[in-house]
């Protein structure tokens, strides 16, 4: 448990990871939808798609995500970083509600609540754990038997 508390700059790295990933995915979706269906027989079309504006913007955001994600992984566990960065989905949902005025269904509010609780849960624990030890036998358990006179 080398890093029980993260520094402010480390929270900023997690926030950047959280924001860039969903925005990048949205750009990819926006870019892929207008394209004609691509079959596995023509993988070259998939490569060509990379150079369209929305896909390129999505890739730029995902590169930002990847840089901050790698930095986060260098001081925190994968099982800490992933739930923490899932908070980005909440940010995007709230932005769409209050900025774009999109309606949010009850199920989505429930999703926001669950993610927030889940992230709060994992964030309270240590960011980096030591590798799990193989079963450590408790020495105390052996002591009374040894103490028994023969």
């Amino acid at each position: 448990m080398a890093h029980p508390q993260l520094k402010l700059s480390q929270y900023a790295v997690l926030a950047l990871t959280a924001i860039c990933a969903p925005l990048g995915d949205t750009c990819l979706s926006r870019g892929m939808k207008p394209l004609p269906p691509i079959s596995l027989a023509h993988p070259g079309q998939l490569i060509a798609a990379v150079f369209t504006p929305w896909i390129a913007a999505g890739i730029a955001l995902l590169i930002g995500f990847f840089a901050s994600y790698l930095t986060a992984l260098s001081w925190a566990d994968l099982t800490y970083v992933l739930p923490a960065t899932a908070f980005g989905n909440v940010i995007v949902a709230l932005l769409s509600r209050f900025w774009l005025h999109e309606p949010i269904s009850l199920a989505r509010w429930a999703g926001i609540l669950l993610i927030t609780v889940g992230v709060g849960f994992v964030a309270q624990g240590p960011s980096r754990t030591e590798p799990t030890q193989e079963i450590q036998q408790l020495p105390e358990a052996a002591e009374p038997t040894e103490a028994v006179p023969r």
């Binding site: 992933l82 889940g118 754990t129």
Partner: protein, 130 residues
């Protein structure tokens, strides 16, 4: 477009994204763990030193290869399926497969708190984007 895709094919597309991204994330996490704290490396050897440390790690390239595979699997899936299905399904399933893989391969101490958190976030992501 989405309605013409058989459910099994859609599941296979999502499974390809989930499995390749889990492999990529676990390998990348293993690489970053072996390299050490990037902030400290940057403080000692500057940004170039930090980039060199990452780029000279073979595990990192193995991870990036799988993440690239996951990326193209995602592009392929997005071309045939709706984002509202692909994004929540792959994101939430990846959380669970990563928790399992993190425990098995990275020997992370996935305690009850992290399991509960992974499942809460998993259901939350699904509800949010469904």
């Amino acid at each position: 477009m989405t309605s013409s895709i058989p459910p099994l094919t859609a599941a296979a597309m999502i499974a390809a994204v989930v499995l390749s991204s889990t492999a990529g994330e676990v390998l990348t996490a293993a690489a970053m763990k072996s390299i050490g704290d990037l902030d400290e490396i940057r403080a000692h050897s500057g940004l170039k030193g930090a980039i060199r440390a990452v780029l000279t790690c073979p595990l990192f390239f193995a991870g990036v290869s799988f993440l690239a595979l996951a990326f193209f699997a995602l592009l392929f899936a997005l071309n045939h399926l709706n984002l509202s299905l692909v994004a929540p399904a792959s994101a939430s399933l990846t959380l669970v497969t990563n928790a399992i893989a993190g425990k098995i391969f990275l020997k992370e101490n996935v305690d009850r708190r992290r399991w509960i958190s992974a499942f809460l976030v998993c259901i939350g992501v699904y509800l949010l984007a469904h």
